[in-house]
Structure formats: structure tokens, C-alpha cells
């Protein structure tokens, strides 16, 4: 009898250990092969600047600046207060210890595309690596070259404030298995070249879907409701539906959308509010061609009913 109990206990311990091992194996941070990084040439600063604004890096990582002509001070500190807890954007300036001045290109690429820090920890997806994973590696190299030209700013942003179980970073490995993929969201076989160029900007660096698409209980994007709008993850209100079925922008022409991304003005000369006002500061710096491409893609995506509840 005692022997049976001992065997059972040993079995449980073994099972737990095996479960732990499986968990550890499944949640291991993944890295980009070194050879892929080595194959890249030196990045191009001018092209990298385009990626910087397409990626909207400054919206979370830079403080508001009196003079927009000055280079962005990427000290971080913006707080995103969500149901999962409060995320704080870190310093990504070129400061060697407080920022990412000591990072290699491989470090930046693994952060942006695998959500992994140089010391092998998972990042939280408040940093939209799920979208950046769709970027071309060469574009990340260009971005790296541009970021090298930006100033070093002193000061570390405070840590995230998260409760259990969201404070267990290792668990994000499981989340990534479900939600992290470099594949495009939509298969747009018949779309124009322009719309495909827009698809890359929207689904990749632009990370539009991160706010404009509803999420499931685990915080993953519901691809079946891509760009249908969502209850805002942060703050009050909703993020609008931007598919052709949107009641606010569904009837806009391609040039209306492009103009909105340039100036923030709608066809009725209302103007962008909330977080979108910050986004327009970035899209306003893109080329007319890039904005037209984004607009072409938004006209080509499938229409969806609103991804948020109707007004009370």
C-alpha cells in the first residue's frame, strides 16, 4: 500500500516535472537566425526614417515636443492603462544604458519581430511586434540605421505594473504560439500593386490592426474581424471601424482617406481625435504615394460590421 502511494507520488512529481519541461520548452524565446542578420547590408538612413514614421515609434516612446522639426527624444514613459495592467513604454533612445544605444541590429530585429529582449526575455505585446513581425528584415536594418542618428536621452522609464498571471513573462511564450506569425493577415490575390504596398504598411509597420481590431479573451487579434473597430483597450470609448462597412469612413474615397492621414481632416473637416491625432503626426510625414497605398488597401479589405457594441 505504502509502495503504491510512493509510486503515485513519484508519478505526480514526474508528470509535473514533465509538464514543467513542456511548458519551458514551448515558452522558450525564439530568435532570428544569425545568418539572416549577417546577410543584410548596412541599413539606409533615409529609408529608415520612412519606416520610423510608418511604425509610429514616437507616438509611445517620445514625449510631446514643442518643435516637431527637432529629432524625437525617445525616452519613453507613456503609460498604457489597460485591463491587463499598466504598460510603460521604455526608453528606446541611443543612450547606451538607459536606452538601446548598445543594441546590435540583431537585438533590434529580435525585439521587433520575435518580441524577445537581448537578454532573452519575452516582451509584452503592448509593443506591437505581432505586426512588426510582418516587416521585411531589410526594413528593420534601415530603421536601425536611422535610429542610430537620433539623440541619446537619459532616464529609464519605470517597469510595467501588472498583476498575476500577466506578470509572468514566460507565459507569453504560449501566447506567441497562438498569436505571433509573419504571415499577412489577408490574402489579397486580386488586389492592385498599390493596395498590396498598402497592405504591407498597414499590416506590418503601421500596426493599424492592433487598435482597430477587436481582441479575444487572451488579448489576441480576432482576424475574422480585421479592422472592424474595437472597444478601446486603453482609455474611454471605441476605436472606429475602418473597413468599407464603417458608418464613419466607409463612404470615403481613396483620396479622402489619404488626406485624412496627411492632415487629420475628414471630408467634412472634422479632425482626428484621441490617439489617432498622434498617429496622424506620423502618417503626415509619409509620402503621398505611401498614404495613397494605405488608402487603396483600406478600400480593398473586406467590409465588416462594427467590432464594438452599439451606442447605449
Amino acid at each position: 500500500m505504502a509502495g503504491t502511494v510512493r509510486k503515485l507520488a513519484a508519478g505526480v512529481v514526474l508528470l509535473a516535472a514533465a509538464g514543467g519541461a513542456v511548458f519551458w520548452f514551448l515558452t522558450a524565446p525564439e530568435r532570428i537566425p544569425e545568418a539572416d542578420i549577417a546577410a543584410l547590408g548596412a541599413g539606409d538612413v533615409a529609408r529608415g526614417e520612412r519606416m520610423f514614421y510608418a511604425g509610429g515609434c514616437a507616438s509611445c516612446h517620445a514625449a510631446a515636443q514643442a518643435d516637431p522639426a527637432e529629432p524625437p527624444q525617445l525616452a519613453g514613459g507613456l503609460r498604457l492603462v489597460t485591463d491587463f495592467g499598466t504598460f510603460v513604454a521604455p526608453n528606446i533612445s541611443q543612450h547606451p544604458t538607459d536606452g538601446i544605444g548598445g543594441w546590435s541590429l540583431a537585438d533590434l530585429a529580435n525585439a521587433m519581430q520575435k518580441g524577445v529582449s537581448p537578454d532573452g526575455r519575452h516582451y509584452y505585446p503592448s509593443f506591437p511586434y505581432t505586426s512588426y513581425a510582418r516587416m521585411k528584415l531589410a526594413d528593420v536594418a534601415d530603421l536601425y540605421a536611422f535610429m542610430k542618428t537620433l539623440p541619446a536621452v537619459e532616464g529609464r522609464a519605470p517597469d510595467h505594473e501588472l498583476g498575476f498571471p500577466f506578470n509572468i513573462r514566460r507565459g507569453l511564450g504560449l501566447w506567441k504560439l497562438l498569436n505571433l506569425s509573419p504571415e499577412p493577415v489577408l490574402a489579397l490575390a486580386d488586389a492592385s500593386e498599390q493596395a498590396k504596398a498598402g497592405q504591407y504598411l498597414v499590416e506590418g509597420p503601421g500596426h493599424c490592426g492592433e487598435c482597430h481590431t477587436p481582441r479575444d479573451l487572451s488579448g489576441g487579434i480576432r482576424k475574422s474581424e480585421w479592422l472592424a473597430g474595437a472597444v478601446a483597450a486603453e482609455g474611454d470609448g471605441v476605436v472606429p471601424n475602418i473597413t468599407p462597412e464603417s458608418s464613419s469612413s466607409g463612404q470615403w474615397s481613396q483620396s479622402d482617406i489619404a488626406e485624412f492621414l496627411k492632415s487629420g481632416f475628414t471630408p467634412e473637416f472634422d479632425s482626428a481625435g484621441g490617439a489617432m491625432a498622434a498617429v496622424v503626426k506620423n502618417t503626415g510625414r509619409l509620402s503621398d504615394d505611401d498614404r495613397a497605398a494605405i488608402a487603396a488597401y483600406l478600400k480593398a479589405v473586406p467590409g465588416r460590421p462594427n467590432g464594438f457594441p452599439a451606442k447605449k
Binding site: D236, G237, V238, S263, F265, S271, A277, K281
Partner: protein, 145 residues
């Protein structure tokens, strides 16, 4: 009796200041404001020829529009809820909201006084004025379902 009359009088005064439907009233002002900005935008973008008289007219109209933006009457506590995209931050930071409205008024007054005489001058004035739309909406406006 005197005090009753007095309090009715006070109530009546208070009432004449407050708007009967502040949400509708402030929306109408913002709609008019957008419409005025929309009259200048085609010129700024080069889609319409520069017209100094028209520019002066629109900036003067914007100045009048800004003067109508009576915050205590248009944004009473009671108007937080309803068919509105006003952010709760307006009432949390009333001083900041008023400062933003004052900045718009001052920028519009400066533009009207400057009387832009060519497209470059218009672009400068328009840029300053229109910058208020984004900054104020970023802080004090929220989309609702």
C-alpha cells in the same frame, strides 16, 4: 417673499446663461467651425486660387465662432453623458480645456489681424490655427460606438 423673488431672479439669470441643450449647441458650433476651415483648405492645398478677401472673411467668421464657445454654458457637468464625443477629461482638467480654447481664440484673432495677402502667409496662419484641431481633439475628444 423678497428672498423668494430674489432666488427666482437668480435662478432665471443662471438659466439664461446655461444652454437648454448644450450638447446640440456645442456640436453646432464645432460643425460651423469645421465648415469654415473647409472653406480655406482648398486654397491652402492649391485646388483653388488664393483670394485675400475670402480669407479675411473666413478668419473673421472663425473669430466670431470662437467667441461663441462659452465653456461654462456649453459644457456643464450635466452634459458629460449623452450623444457626445466630449472626453471625460474635459471635466477632469477644465483649466487645461479652457486654456486650449483660449489658445484657439488667440490664434484665430492673430490670423484675422494678420490679413494674409499671399498663399505662403495663408499657409502659415492656417497651419497655426488648424494645429489647434489636432491638439485639442487629441486630449479632449473620444470616439464612441
Amino acid at each position: 417673499m423678497k428672498s423668494l423673488i430674489l432666488s427666482i431672479a437668480i435662478a432665471a439669470t443662471a438659466f439664461s446663461v446655461a444652454s437648454a441643450d448644450p450638447i446640440a449647441d456645442r456640436k453646432a458650433i464645432m460643425k460651423e467651425r469645421g465648415g469654415l476651415v473647409g472653406q480655406l483648405a482648398p486654397m491652402v492645398k492649391g485646388e483653388q486660387p488664393f483670394d485675400a478677401a475670402k480669407v479675411a472673411e473666413v478668419f473673421t467668421a472663425l473669430q466670431a465662432n470662437a467667441a461663441k464657445f462659452d465653456i461654462p454654458a456649453l459644457f456643464p457637468e450635466s452634459s458629460k453623458e449623452g450623444d457626445t464625443t466630449a472626453s471625460p477629461k474635459i471635466w477632469e482638467d477644465m483649466a487645461g480645456f479652457k486654456a486650449a480654447a483660449d489658445k484657439f481664440s488667440a490664434d484665430v484673432a492673430a490670423a484675422a489681424a494678420a490679413k494674409p495677402q499671399d498663399l505662403d502667409a495663408l499657409k502659415a496662419s492656417f497651419g497655426t490655427v488648424a494645429g489647434n484641431c489636432a491638439s485639442c481633439h487629441e486630449a479632449f475628444r473620444v470616439k464612441k460606438g
